[in-house]
Point group: C2
Chain length 336, copies 2
């Protein structure tokens, strides 16, 4: 896991500089801070959608800012939340009077800062902000607590929330409606991952955990959070079956349901293997009577150079399908 | 380098099955052979464009079959040429009377089989076939031989040849014109890569070469062919400078030129690092007075899970720029 970098402390900002150079038609930044990334194509009157989170997950989070998806993203250090001030700067820039929706993953640092940014936006700037927290990792579903707090981590399935909410905002729906659609997508997506190797945070310089040369960990999170089972590496079909058994039972997805499927590479797992996984998913879902509307296969949310993949299912109704199918163009997601 | 696979001997076919499941609107196969991949949207009267090559390089080669680019691809085993018979089957399927152009990389197995397929297409089927061989790896530029045979390996830069030729065919130009444009693109592109780690061919089960934990190899090919220098891993900016010094001197690219730039990840190198590389490329080319028309950054031609990247430059004129900018939609390349 050698890295093609300069100084580790410049990793995030140099990455961002390269990103602005490569995609000047789609993204720019505000507040003189490259970590306050916003769309280069602000649409007046539209509800703004902002996300944010730590670096190390490209194309997540910032790669989905553009046309028909997100309007802004505050960018943290690797695996660290951006600050509330950065979130506020993005919020101010993307609001055009119709309010702003925050969509972000279920992590304590992000929740704390986004909540603070929302308060500041309201009190200091008079901008109405609503939030939808994406948490869909079946591996981190804790026991139901008295207040039914969602314990699930947000992982790759957040893409579906971005896509549906982004299309709804692009169709000029109001903030309440965009929030409702985002919430509906968030509640209907479930994800599970498997990791085969660790990753190295550049400033740390060594792997975040160890795993044997013949081992895998089912359910590991995208920062290396402990999964639900570590064991010997198994054939692809067996791994997929175990993951889908848990995903499908969770909502549950049942015969007659229609879903979108996201097969997501975590970093160093080749596309070939992701398609071998896709083949088995299709067999499995056919046997369960679950219809696949559309597949997305590739790297959508990574963990630097971690090997492994995740599977996400989004249960569709006609409304979600319409917004999922709408066109979008961002640095990492183009759909026509 | 653990793999998420079933039996190694089924690696290619299971990958292809997954690919057809995920992209039924764009691709299908002919001759009852999943390795004879063709477009699902044949355009009558258009010059057909076929490519082919070994597996292990996704999205290369097959990932560029679709609208506005390629019409067919014969798929070999990992790092092995497909057969002339498979190439012929693809040729027959994609021809609609206007002839077929082969565009493929400069490797002996591919040259031998594509030449045989072209002869069979002509003699047995009466299909006119022309060929353009892409060979642009500056690291493998041998001494000029008496017959000026190009010794350069074809690597990621072939994407530019696909894109320009595909757009020309889509504009209904005839075979001679499509070949001329493909040839022009091929002659104006140069590439150099650097590898940091080996990859494992599934049926072999061990790395194709060894490289020290602190080493890199400048100029290594996408099958692990020996490069031009092995040494200690250096900072990203220094690596980029060495690679661009060699690329720019080769054509040469000079002040006032306009280029498209492809930054290509070889497999397990994160997007973040590819953008850090992009940042330095931009600085370097600005200093040389070379204008960048457009950047492409991501995994376009990989070597399974090899770590490393390549840089390709395409020198543009108005004609190539027009075809480069034309819309296209394939499983791995969408441009609007």
């Amino acid at each position: 896991m050698k890295k093609i970098i300069n100084k580790p402390e410049n990793y995030v900002n140099e990455m961002l500089e390269g990103l602005y150079i490569a995609h000047p038609d789609l993204i720019t930044y505000t507040a003189d801070d490259v970590r306050c990334l916003v769309t280069a194509n602000k649409k007046e009157g539209k509800v703004g959608i902002a996300t944010g989170g730590g670096s190390g997950h490209l194309p997540l989070f910032l790669g989905y800012v553009g046309l028909g998806m997100l309007d802004g993203c505050s960018v943290g250090d690797v695996f660290q939340s951006p600050s509330a001030e950065q979130m506020l700067a993005v919020t101010k820039e993307i609001d055009s009077g119709s309010g702003v929706l925050y969509i972000y993953g279920n992590y304590n640092g992000d929740i704390f800062n986004f909540d603070m940014a929302a308060e500041m936006a309201d009190f200091e700037e008079g901008i109405r902000v609503e939030s939808v927290v994406a948490g869909e990792d079946v591996a981190s579903a804790g026991p139901a607590s008295p207040n039914e707090k969602n314990t699930r981590r947000g992982v790759a399935g957040i893409i579906f929330v971005y896509k549906c909410a982004g299309a709804a905002a692009d169709a000029m729906l109001d903030l309440d409606e965009v929030k409702r659609i985002a919430q509906k997508a968030a509640e209907n997506v479930r994800t599970m991952g498997v990791a085969l190797s660790p990753c190295i945070v550049p400033r740390v310089g060594k792997p975040g955990f160890e795993i044997g040369e013949d081992e895998m960990e089912i359910g590991m999170g995208i920062h290396g959070e402990t999964g639900i089972r570590r064991g010997k590496l198994e054939p692809a079909d067996q791994i997929v079956t175990e993951m889908l058994d848990k995903i499908v039972a969770d909502i549950p997805y049942v015969s007659g349901d229609e879903v979108a499927v996201l097969v997501n590479g975590l970093g160093s797992t080749p596309l070939d293997e992701q398609y071998i996984v896709t083949r088995k998913i299709d067999q499995y879902l056919k046997e369960k009577g679950i219809k696949v509307h559309r597949y997305y296969v590739g790297e959508y949310a990574t963990a630097i150079e971690m090997a492994g993949f995740s599977i996400s299912l989004l249960k569709l109704d006609d409304e979600l399908k319409k917004y999922l199918e709408a066109p979008a163009r961002t640095p990492f997601f183009t759909q026509v």
